[in-house]
Subunit: 218 residues, 2 copies
């Protein structure tokens, strides 16, 4: 699928599109399992309740041509989407903060299927430093800069307590990290050229609890 | 904090507000640790780079009165926010799919600090059924309806493979679940009165990879 590798470097795709593309991917994977060879945006639309014209527009970013009355080739669409979303390249990452959530992420080997491999973790706790979790070595943060260079990593996963979220972010950026996947509920600040992806499970819980309370009979 | 418990049932708060409130909470907690007793929306604004008027508007939902020139009482603001966001009530949940991510979530005891306690898990794998993970019992899905009633649970966490995401969602809803926390990249469909919170780590990865590629020198 060399044709698509050329493009993904060059284009900033709108975030809503990037969030919808994985839906299409999982939907098309399911169709493949059911034995389908071609799929149209109308079919995907029916299954996942997104407007067909929106789907066609989103898919125009990945530059795969659908054929009139036949639709997209299922195998080609899966391959192009996985490539486009970055799930076929392996991106190495380090993780800071081997607490409850950090430890859970180290154990979640499933991230590898979506292109993320955590290759080292950092924590100050003496009982953790020098040990391994799920085969991943845990180092003291003092070793970070050297290890990052050795490992050639440019993504950092942030799962530390909020008190040190900013200082650890600064450490990561100074050490050469280019993207921070922030799982803390803290709003970290970074230089302009650094990517931040916030994934606050707690914010999602807050939304879910509120909606649940609204639905409950008074 | 009885005064705020009255209100949270009654109001559907905009999602962007609900997503920002945990930022304010973590910021104010940090100020408390630094010994501050009062905080203004202007101070929070400086720290987290959100407009002060937006912060004041968001905080108007939680109905805490700030005092002119003094600001909000730090302890009261923390208590009211935690209560409002649902982090002080314990919400019981069950989890379906004890794979890599599901197992990781069962091990993440940190969710309890934000009001979510997973009390039972379900999986069809014979080697898992009847065992415990982090003290949480794993049952066969056939036992779901009965167990849910016994346990009085109305939240279901979905971490199954995409092929069965919809059918397991249907099982949960038929069994009495009122809110589904969907970690799969599959877009599940539910009746109107059921809450769905999508948390797709893979979609977040896709956004991060794309931004990172855009920033890289060509």
């Amino acid at each position: 699928m060399g044709s698509s590798s050329l493009k993904k470097e060059s284009m900033k795709v709108p975030e809503p599109t990037l969030r919808r593309l994985p839906w299409y991917l999982s939907n098309v994977k399911l169709m493949k399992q059911k034995g389908e060879h071609f799929v149209s945006s109308t079919q995907i639309s029916k299954d996942i309740n997104v407007d067909a014209s929106q789907i066609a527009k989103d898919l125009s970013y990945v530059r795969i041509a659908g054929r009139t009355r036949v639709g997209y080739d299922v195998d080609a669409l899966i391959a192009v989407l996985e490539d486009f979303l970055g799930f076929t390249d392996m991106h190495k990452a380090v993780l800071f903060g081997v607490g409850s959530l950090g430890g859970a992420l180290l154990r979640d080997s499933g991230l590898k299927h979506f292109g993320l491999e955590i290759v080292a973790a950092f924590d100050i706790k003496p009982e953790l430093v020098g040990t391994h979790l799920n085969g991943i070595p845990i180092y003291h943060p003092d070793e970070f800069k050297q290890r990052r260079e050795e490992l050639g990593v440019n993504i950092g996963v942030l799962t530390v307590p909020i008190e040190i979220a900013q200082s650890i972010t600064d450490t990561m950026v100074q050490g050469g990290i280019k993207a921070v996947w922030n799982f803390t509920p803290f709003r970290i600040r970074v230089p302009e050229d650094i990517v931040v992806q916030n994934t606050s499970l707690y914010a999602h819980l807050a939304v879910m609890f509120n909606r649940l309370n609204c639905n409950e009979p008074k």
